[in-house]
Symmetry: C2
Subunit: 341 residues, 2 copies
DNA sequence: TTGTAGGCGTTATCAA
DNA sequence: TTGATAACGCCTACAA
């Protein structure tokens, strides 16, 4: 059976209060008793029951993380970042995949609330804003990552999406591409909007007409990227370059290109958001926008830890915006050179 | 402030017992009171406190999962499998990355124990066997995945590693390769041993001498794979094919080949364990051993759920062995054809 | 069908 | 310094 404080106290011949004090490392205890308790605890293999402790102290030393899908490189490294700093401060993280599904997101939020996590880090859909606010009001600090939500007054760790995709598309334009397609994420998500805005801005700036036919929307999933790319390829006049707004859709798009034996970049150039480990290995090495994903995680964790310390104080809307980086490899080639060949 | 059952009861004008009964959905309650309670709970925004409940019921409805690294495709999909079925039964999973570090593994085991998870799924190092047994003895069921440990009497969801790597290496031999290198995982892990055994068996069967110089060991990490491949390439007589024992090391090995501009498979053929989404996209498309990772997860979860139901009954050592599949793409080419070119 | 009250394992107050 | 003892929020005999 599971050992309790009472067992320890009995074994050590002291009261539970004393046992609790030495094991909890607070209050006054004589050296003698301290030793006795420690020894007894070890002997019977006692481990404190966090449930009971939390019930009493109102601290669970756990934080909840809700992201859309651990399966991607981006979130995977955000999570590692979060964990690495949270663990260091003695916090445990419980992870939830919302799969971009507001319903699931809502359920996980409730679950985390019920489990009394001390704080939450979330990459939110835009459908549970009211509930997130409610949770915050109840005293649980929340930090947003990756996706901005104006209505929520807390710290948000973001990436300069518009700037990054602007740079990416401009890169294509500079290389001589003019018919540039885009495979975007779902419209409702701020991140998608921003990346799309960068795309439009770059085209506009170069006086390239925006052709709605070249613009596709997906749900950030592989299949969507694939389908979108297939549609693009099927056009009478397909694009000569494509900007893809995230990692999984890029994988899908590349798969489509492969299956249709389209030469990259000779027939279609491609540039993707997110820079997974395999980007340099594909054929040809993929030019990408690299997000500082691990840093997003560590910063989010640090900010949250701090908020948990100063609980109660009202938090303001605050944005920490990180700059992604364009990693130029070979999937965009150089339109001009290609033409001259 | 957080609402409690008492608040609900007060609001509904009944006793906490009644409120508890309707919210907990058990026992007798009049329709009238049921409605009143439900309404009150909703109005004040009540959510049960799982901590308190768990303390009383001894059930946390959460299971702990310890794997080496969520960052890999293999574990990522094992975890998705686990979660998908656990969630369906109302269980929550808390995830821990041990990074192959026995110390960390031990800490997480303790943490999960303290947090009173109802069950544990672990892909273990071989250093905490005694502690795992102790946890099991205390009544928490444990299921092992991916790595066999003879001394632990519980269900283990495994993959036929020896057979799979035997098939992989035989594939290379059939294609005409004779100088076949191996980049293995750490020796202490059963999985590594088994994969290495398959390699040896295939060579032996074809009367190919096993050259210790061609055999490298890594810690399942990317850098290791890279270094090992570099060493292999530096040999006066490098291998003409290499078998790599897991995904991350394969990534590293491919990176090394790329950086050294080694042509695959003309100069060195390569075959990797694990089949990440990007395998078909690399240059050339990678021949791999695909493990049924998602199934490993779902099965582990199902088995664990069942064990949690029949708690107390003593469990036996039992192995569920799944067959991986060789996915032939182009990274092994055909030695003979290459020679004839 | 309802309500009272004790207990889950800890922490923490207060008197000794 | 120590030890009773009252919470923490919930469940659940048991009595009514």
């Amino acid at each position: 059976m599971r050992k309790t404080l009472k067992d320890v106290a009995q074994k050590a011949g002291v009261s539970v209060a004393v046992a609790s004090r030495v094991l909890g490392n607070y209050g006054y205890v004589s050296e003698e008793n301290k030793e006795k308790v420690l020894k007894a605890a070890k002997q019977i293999g006692y481990y404190s029951d966090i449930l009971a402790r939390s019930l009493k102290t109102k601290k669970t030393y756990s934080i909840g993380v809700i992201i859309s899908d651990v399966t991607t490189f981006f979130f995977t490294s955000v999570v590692r970042g979060i964990e690495d700093v949270a663990n260091q401060s003695g916090y445990h993280v419980t992870l939830c995949n919302s799969d971009e599904d507001p319903q699931k997101e809502r359920e996980y939020l409730e679950e985390l609330y019920k489990r009394r996590v001390d704080g939450i880090i979330i990459s939110p859909t835009s459908k549970n804003i009211a509930y997130i606010k409610k949770i915050m009001r109840s005293g649980i600090p929340v930090v947003l990552v990756d996706r901005k939500i104006d209505e929520i007054d807390t710290t948000q760790i973001l990436v300069d999406n518009e700037w990054a995709s602007y740079e990416a598309v401009k890169h294509l334009i500079n290389l001589g591409y003019r018919r540039i397609g885009a495979i975007n994420g779902v419209k409702e998500i701020r991140t998608s909007e921003e990346r799309f805005a960068g795309y439009k801005k770059a085209l506009r700036e170069s006086d390239i007409k925006i052709d709605p036919q070249l613009i596709k929307y997906g749900n950030f999933r592989m299949e969507n990227g694939k389908e979108a790319m297939v549609e693009l390829l099927k056009m009478k006049k397909p694009p000569d370059a494509v900007f893809v707004a995230n990692e999984t859709m890029t994988t899908g798009a590349l798969l489509a290109l492969k299956e249709n034996e389209v030469k990259i970049p000779q027939e279609v150039a491609i540039i993707g958001f997110d820079d997974p480990v395999w980007a340099p290995l594909v054929d040809p090495p993929l030019t990408t926008v690299r997000q500082p994903s691990y840093s997003i995680g560590t910063i989010a964790s640090q900010v949250l830890l701090q908020k948990m310390d100063t609980r109660g104080r009202k938090t303001k809307h605050e944005e920490i915006i990180l700059k992604p980086k364009l990693i130029i490899r070979e999937s965009c080639g150089e339109k001009i050179k290609i033409k001259n060949k």
